[in-house]
Amino acid sequence: MKTESKLEKVLNSGKFAVTAEIGPPKHASGDGMKHHADMLVDYVDAANITDSQTAIVRISSIAGGVHIKEKGVEPIVQMTCRDRNRIAMQADILGAYSLGMRNLLCLSGDHQKFGNHPTSKNVYDVDSMQLIHLVRRMRDEKLFFSGEEIKENEPRFFVGAVANPFADPFEFRVDRLEKKVEAGAEFIQTQCIFDMERFERFMEMVRERGIDERVHILAGITPMKSWRAAKYIGNNVSGMIVPDALVQRLKNAEDPKREGIEMAIEQINYIKENVKGVHGFHVMAIAWEEVVPEIVERCGLYPRPNVD
């Protein structure tokens, strides 16, 4: 193992990994996150803490990581390129590691236009590709972004990145995934999969190039609460595709929430059986964390392996 990450151990064991997402609140109490961590602790290997997602100010991902770690859940600290320059990023990378964080997920971040501070400046001093490369370099070559030596106690993160098979240009998404792997990404979480056919085409290209053997890909799964939410996401969130059939199925359901859970379970089971090259599942139950245990259990992913 290159790091102390539990997620790395699970992925390297060859078993399906399970991660979830805990969104920090827009206030200064970590109690809700701890509550969600209690709920998830036996059902996931690690949980992402989002970094002011959709550019809305929330408890920081690192502070959130401390809260859930206290409850026994291994954090995956998300770090976007939107809000910090390379100095602040490295300060947070050192700080997060010193607080016991072992997984770092590098991403661009949603544009601030979508958040509650649309007049703010965006930074993008480095991009997600560069962040992946430089965090790996901190670990493997003990170098700051500038190339200066880290004399001792270098941060040794298990480095993750994201891939969006539903964004365009479609073919270049596989190229860009490969570029992220070349830059040093060790695990990949995909955008929420609703268009299974497109995801399968994406994975086919991934396998043709052997990328699945060089990186652990976790398929992004999001249970939907209502047909309106599904339609909204498909129409209004750039880089998301929600097929009409899925919206229709939710619309026709007697109990749409139950149907949403069933659909998520079906998706995971389908991928487990049919889509080679997927090494785990990232269950993003947005503001609906309490359904994760049932989904994990009914997909035969419970109990989680003990790798310690």
Partner: protein
């Protein structure tokens, strides 16, 4: 060229509300081409201000002049005789011109009539688009002649981000994704392999982030 747009008449009038006589100085450079501060716009603005003030029973006297360029001290000198007896100077140049006028006539109240927007070009008559981020270290040879610094909302060098869909940027369905354009062009040129090259973090010290910049060409200096 520099693209600028005129401030509202109300905004400009409020800057000179205590003045009785003002000089309006147009510029025959970029702002003439982008129809914001040339001879015609200078005359129209002067007339508009006079009418507004007359309606308010506070008549305003205006003098107009168009400098060849306001970003060159030698052309600012040509203003000297006009500046003497006015209470304020309204510059219809970009921000550079306003500052050159203010610097030269340090005892005068000098105000801007324009908002300086960006460096760009014409799309159609009356429509301009930003095309250069003035980063000081051009990367257009890596990106098929399409600037990711200014045309990508996130200035990403290893794009596109996950928000690119149907050729559009995540921030607006009316905005092309620069990285889709880059991809299409590089594909057409048979140079997609270039996009697989990792582009390291940029040296922003060559941009505004290194502090105000100065360019020197010793070979053309006279003294």
């Amino acid at each position: 060229m520099i693209i600028a747009q005129q401030k509202s008449i109300q905004d400009i009038a409020s800057m000179i509300e205590d003045c009785n006589k003002v000089l309006l100085v147009g510029c025959a450079g970029c702002v003439t081409v982008c129809l914001a501060g040339g001879e015609k716009e200078t005359e129209v603005l002067a007339a508009s201000l006079r009418i507004k003030r007359r309606l308010e029973n506070k008549p305003l006297e205006t003098v107009t002049f168009v400098a060849t360029r306001q970003c060159d001290p030698e052309y600012i000198e040509t203003l000297e005789s006009y500046v003497k007896d006015v209470d304020a100077v309204i510059s219809l140049a970009c921000g550079v011109g306003v500052q050159y006028v203010a610097e030269r006539f340090s005892d005068k109240w000098v105000v801007p009539a324009l908002n300086t927007n960006f460096i760009g070009g014409s799309l159609n008559h009356g429509e301009w688009e930003e095309r250069c981020g003035l980063c000081g270290d051009c990367v257009l040879h890596r990106t098929g002649g399409i600037c990711p610094i200014i045309r990508c909302s996130k200035s990403i060098l290893n794009g596109p981000c996950g928000g690119s869909q149907y050729g559009k940027c995540e921030i607006s369905k009316d905005m092309d994704c620069a990285w889709q354009l880059i991809y299409d062009r590089m594909k057409a040129l048979g140079k997609l392999d270039k996009l697989m090259e990792y582009q390291p973090p940029k040296d922003w010290s060559k941009s505004r982030d290194g502090g105000p910049r100065r360019a020197v060409r010793e070979d053309v200096m006279i003294d």
